[in-house]
Structure formats: C-alpha cells, structure tokens
Amino acid sequence: MAVLVFADHDNTTLKDGTNKTVTAALALSSDVDVLVAGKGAGDVAKAAAGIAGVRKVLHAESDALGQGLAEAISGLIVPLMAGYDALLTPATSLGKNFSPRVAAKLDVAQITEVVEVVDGSTFVRPIYAGNALETVQSSDAKKVITVRATNFKAAADGGSAAIETIDAGPGAGKTAFVDQKIVRTARPDLTAAKIVVSGGRAMGSAEEFQRVIDPLADKLGAAVGASRAAVDAGYAPNDYQVGQTGKVVAPDLYVAIGISGAIQHLAGMKDSKVIVAINKDGDAPIFQVADLGLVADYKTAVPELMDALTAAGK
C-alpha cells in the first residue's frame, strides 16, 4: 500500500499540519510520499523532504497550483492516484476545497476529518459538530481522506527524501483567479499556536473585540480566535472562527473571553490542554469544560488579567 500526503503550505513555509498528516499516513503504510503543489515552493519541498518517514517528495509548480485552485489541484492528483492506494490531506479550507473533487473523479467516498486510523480501511471521524464519533469502514479500492491534523502528533524532522519534479497537470480550466487578500499578522497561525485567546458575542462590536482580545493575545504571544456568534455578528473575521464549521484547535492554553460555549464552539477547542474561561454567566456551558473558570464581566476581568500577567513578568 502506498500513500500520498498533500502538503499544506503558503508557497513559502511548510505547515505543521503536513507533519501531522504524515503521522496519520504512516499508520496506514510505510510507503508515504508527499506532494508539494505550489508556485515558488522550492523551500516547502525541501522542508517536506526533511520529514522523517517520507519516501519521496513530488513537486509540481504552476500559478493555478500556487493559488490553490481546486480544479488545478484535482487535475494534478487524479492521474497520480494510479500509483497510490490512499490520499491524505490536512482538513484545511484548501484541503476541504479540492479533496472531495478528487474523490468524485475517482468514484470513491471521501472520509472526512479523520481523527483516528483504526486499520487500513477503518477510520473514526466526528459528526454532528463533534457530538458523536462515527467509526466507518470503507469498501472503496482507493481511500480519499481528510485528516483533522490536531488529533495526530507531528512526524519528526530528520528525513532526507528525494525530491522529484513533476508536471503541473492540466490547470484550472474555466476558473480564473482574480485576487486574494491574506491578512498578514505577526501573531502565530491559529491552528498551530501554543496559546489561543478567543472572544465571543459578549464583545458587542468589532472595535471592542479588537480593544479587548488583541492586546491580551499579544501579551501571551497567542493567536486570536472567535466564536461563531462573534463571527456571525461581524465582530471578527470568518478566518478567526473556532468550531465545527470553522477551525479546530488544540493549543496548550485556550482562553475563552465572553464565550458561552455552544456545542459547535466546544467541538473546535475541547482538545486544548488547559482551558481558561471568563464569562459573567456562571451557568454558561463553557465552564463545564474549563479547567479554570472565572465568573466575571470581561470588562473588569480582562484588565485585571493583563495586570496580573504584567506582575508575573509577562
């Protein structure tokens, strides 16, 4: 059995989710290749070749691949799958975009957001916003799988796989890239951050969200997240959303400010090592998962928290 792992990257840096997906792939087979599809992504290919356990890196370059267009990525991967029994992709927005397309072209099911590999055809995945875990057994000859990377340990570095340049494939066809706005931030990436500070609907406005959450995050060197309610209300960008329909995070420390803890939010952060919650409603469900809970209005509690952090040398 040979497995192809799709590398998650921004054309410059290889993302940690790739190493974690390699771990999931190594649970299926020892023949694991990594595909780096991008534009000017030579450094990414080198980094992927350094992941321990990787047999070979396939490197394809084109504008459409660099832009992450689903038609181009799918068009590249589908013929490659003649040589593989499984495709594993980190379940990022990019992965979720093209992976089902590959599955349909191969006429197989997609096994979505796998959290555990039971055996070569049996996998565990969350359904109903993480309120249930489903074990499924696939009867398809080839498996197309997206991986919830936070549930796997990152494969170590120390490998020295060969890099093979391959043809970029057929391109994006009738889809044209217009432009892209990536929010540049000095903060760590939400899904890879060791600390995450999230704000909820209690913030009341985008200005208040930035006034309260951003300085606390910066003091802790944390990424900023938000509940779906805060995103829905326009207080925070969609990209901040932590939850079943947003990003799934598992940092060492998760700080929830003014978040009630709807099931769909808990599904996105309950695997965090330590959870701190500040909410003025003592009955809020967030306290049922929080290791440290403070029943208080964030307006007084967050400044006190900032002061206490300063006093502690942060």
Partner: protein, 248 residues
Amino acid sequence: MKVLVPVKRVIDYNVKVRVKADQTGVDLANVKMAMNPFCEIAVEEAVRQKEKGAATEVVAVSIGPVQAQETLRTALAMGADRAILIQTDQDLEPLAIAKVLAAIVAEEAPDVVIMGKQAIDGDNNATGQMLSALLDWPQAAFASELVLSAGSAKVTREIDGGLQTLEVALPAVITADLRLNEPRYASLPNIMKAKKKTLDVKELSALGVDTVPRLKVVKVVEPPKRTGGVKVENAAAIVSNLKSNGVI
C-alpha cells in the same frame, strides 16, 4: 438565469444530539428537524439574486424522506419558485447525493447550482465539490460574496488566512459559507403562498443512479467527556495557577 438550490432536512441545530445506546447512530425519533442552516443561506442567496434581477427562476430540490417536503415548503416560502423531492428513505452518502443531483441537473439544465457548504449532520463538506467534479463544471466553494452576470460569476471565498476572489464560467457550482448573507424568516402570507407552489415528487429508484454506500458505519459513540475544573475568585488566581503549572 435558472438557479438550482439543493436543500437538506437535518436535526435542528438547537437540538442536543443523542447517540443511540446500541451505537448504531444518532437518535432521530421525535426530534425537531429543520432545513440545514447552510442550505438556508443558499436559498436566501438564490432568492436575492432573483430579486436583483440576476436570476429568473429558483428551483429547490431535496433528496430524502416524505417529510423533506416540509423543508422544500420552507424554501418555497422563502421565495423559491418550485420544488422537486427525490423521495427515498435510504441515508445517502455525499457521493450518491452528488450523483442524484447530477441527474437532476441533466434534466433541469440550470445555469448555476447554489448550495450549502456543509450539512450539520454528517459534517462532510463534500457534496458541492463532488457535484462540480461529476459535471466537470467550475467550482467556487465557501462563498462569502456572489455577483452573477451573463455567462460568469465573480465569487469571493473564505480561504485559510483571508479571502480569495475567483471568476468562474457558468454553469458552475457555488457553495455558501456563513457570511454570504443572513437568511430571512418566511412571512405568514409567503408561507400560505408556498402551499400553492408546485412540488414534484419522484422516487429515487426512477432515476437509475448508483447509490450503493461505500462506507459501512461500524459504530457511533459519544465523544469522551471533558470534565470541568475549578472556578477561581479573580484574574490573579488564573495567572498564579497557570504559572505554577508551567502553562505560561
């Protein structure tokens, strides 16, 4: 321009989901059902495109049990022109749904399919992308803004770290993300009017589509419960606790 909007009947998003004791699935008996929230956003978008004059007809389609007619009536009350139910009691996987939708597209010949990015039961986030693959149409998934014009659509989509704008040639499949719009509540007069709109019912078997499941559900269990910790008196106690446990 004709818009096809697939909608799914799912457990209402406010209902606490319970896993059956025999681990065969989630308990659906006597549970409130509703239109999948992302499907509502898709219906709303299609109706708005019609109100703007960009679309001329909105056709809602659902694949499910006889009760999915209620979900389609909701779509009609929101402003869809007519509806089609492909009736089946079988629980279909995304690939099978995409194949059924492809058969409907062949009959209806819409210029664009607008659908939710994800159903909140299976959480697969796959059907729209699969449909566009089967049809060999362009796809624009996770849309937060849609401008339809003759022969093409300009779609802004939610991507990792920001937003991306694509121009796709029509026909195409577009999937709706959370911020595309805020769906309306159907007014009582519109609910009454919806009862008179056309709702065609067809048996799934009549379409001759391969819907054999590819995945066998071995078991469905509740996730391990996380137990809550302690409540502290003030913010300083949080910091001292985190510090003494080496978290910060």
